[in-house]
């Protein structure tokens, strides 16, 4: 763990070009097959490029996780903005989305013409089963990393019950259980304020 004072990135002497930002994120958007885009981002931004320190990367990622939006695109926005402002953010998000967007557009185009073949149906049923395994893994893996204590488990269960059993909309579940959970973790008393001073 690094020192608590490692907040600001070191001042940058060389201005990073917009085309370089675009290319770096285009590369991440092209190579990050099989999810786990965070690992690709870290390898590229912290490792190869040295645009961020490790502590700064983790700090930015925790911000991305608390906001709506995908980790990959939110990180692109933050990194692009930090390097070259709004235009950098645009270059980064277009770069990271372009390859997958083109591939999925082509997929739908082909699917519309070949999707009803028997073999395609059977293959896709198997692929879908594997995809279900992956989505449960993503939830469980995040859970084992970030859930602490009974209260957290109760909030997980309440959210899932609201959506899957009570069939409330995701928005209602998010607002109601979210408000309850934030209130549960509300800042309390003077103790933290004293500790900070």
């Amino acid at each position: 763990m690094s020192a608590a004072g490692a907040s600001g990135a070191p001042a940058r002497a060389v201005r990073v070009g917009l085309h370089e930002i675009f290319l770096v994120f285009l590369t991440i958007g092209t190579t990050s097959i099989g999810g786990g885009i965070v690992a690709y981002l870290r390898r590229s931004l912290v490792g190869k490029k040295g645009w961020l320190g490790d502590a700064e990367f983790v700090r930015m990622l925790s911000m991305c996780q608390a906001l709506p939006g995908l980790n990959g695109t939110n990180m692109a926005i933050l990194m692009g903005d930090r390097l070259r402002g709004a235009r950098g953010a645009l270059a980064a998000i277009v770069g990271i989305c372009l390859p997958g967007g083109l591939i999925m557009t082509a997929t739908a185009f082909i699917y519309a013409r070949r999707g009803d073949h028997a073999i395609v149906t059977v293959l896709l049923a198997s692929v879908a089963a594997a995809a279900v395994g992956i989505t449960f893994f993503v939830a469980a893996d995040l859970g084992r990393k970030s859930l602490k204590g009974l209260a957290d488990l109760v909030f997980v269960a309440l959210t899932a019950i609201a959506v899957n059993v009570l069939h409330l909309s995701v928005l209602v579940a998010l607002l109601v259980v979210g408000a309850l959970a934030i209130w549960w973790r509300r800042p309390r008393g003077a103790a933290p304020a004293v500790a900070r001073e």
């Binding site: 995908l70 198997s126 089963a129 859930l147 995701v170 928005l171 579940a173 979210g178």
Partner: protein, 175 residues
């Protein structure tokens, strides 16, 4: 073509629900695209999501496929912009204000409180997808095997998708 405004509205709304990950919005995506607008069937939506797992980039780029399916390339572009622009603007704004927010006493409460809720939403999305995608013992076993392998090893999920596809191929040929 006349579906384009509806596509934009639906995906801009879904965008704001993706707290914790794209899967959080899945139950609502199913309701709106399948039940409300009848743009595609639930199995078709699942197919796009599943093939999307093989595609590089942010894992919800499958929304482009839904847009293309409904309204061609214009639909694909509309959906991608609608799905990513609202959260991009939000992240941009919050990113710039974060220095000040970091000392806001409620920031920790928001982060700690939303963590389990976002995981609950991912779980809910997974359950909703499993209900539509997993039929029969073989597929159920395959879903569980993929889950268990990912929990215990560091295999690339795309590799497991390809393995599952070959199981499907063998079953098809043996039929």
């Amino acid at each position: 073509m006349k579906q384009v405004p509806a596509l934009a509205a639906v995906f801009a709304y879904l965008s704001l629900l993706t707290v914790g990950g794209g899967m959080a919005a899945f139950p609502e995506m199913k309701t709106l695209t399948v039940d409300v607008h009848h743009w595609l069937t639930f199995p078709q939506l699942i197919h796009f999501y599943s093939v999307g797992q093989l595609s590089p980039g942010p894992n919800m780029m499958m929304v482009a496929a839904v847009g293309e399916w409904v309204a061609g390339p214009v639909g694909a572009l509309t959906v991608v912009v609608a799905f990513f622009l609202p959260t991009a603007l939000l992240t941009f704004g919050v990113g710039r204000a974060w220095g000040r927010l970091e000392h806001w006493p409620w920031r920790t409460a928001v982060q700690r409180g939303l963590a389990p809720v976002s995981i609950g939403l991912l779980l809910a999305g997974s359950i909703s997808m499993a209900r539509g995608a997993v039929h029969g013992w073989v597929n159920g076993g395959m879903a569980f095997a993929v889950f268990a392998l990912l929990m215990t090893t560091r295999l690339n999920p795309a590799l497991l998708i390809l393995c599952a596809a070959s199981v499907g191929l063998v079953r098809f040929l043996a039929h």
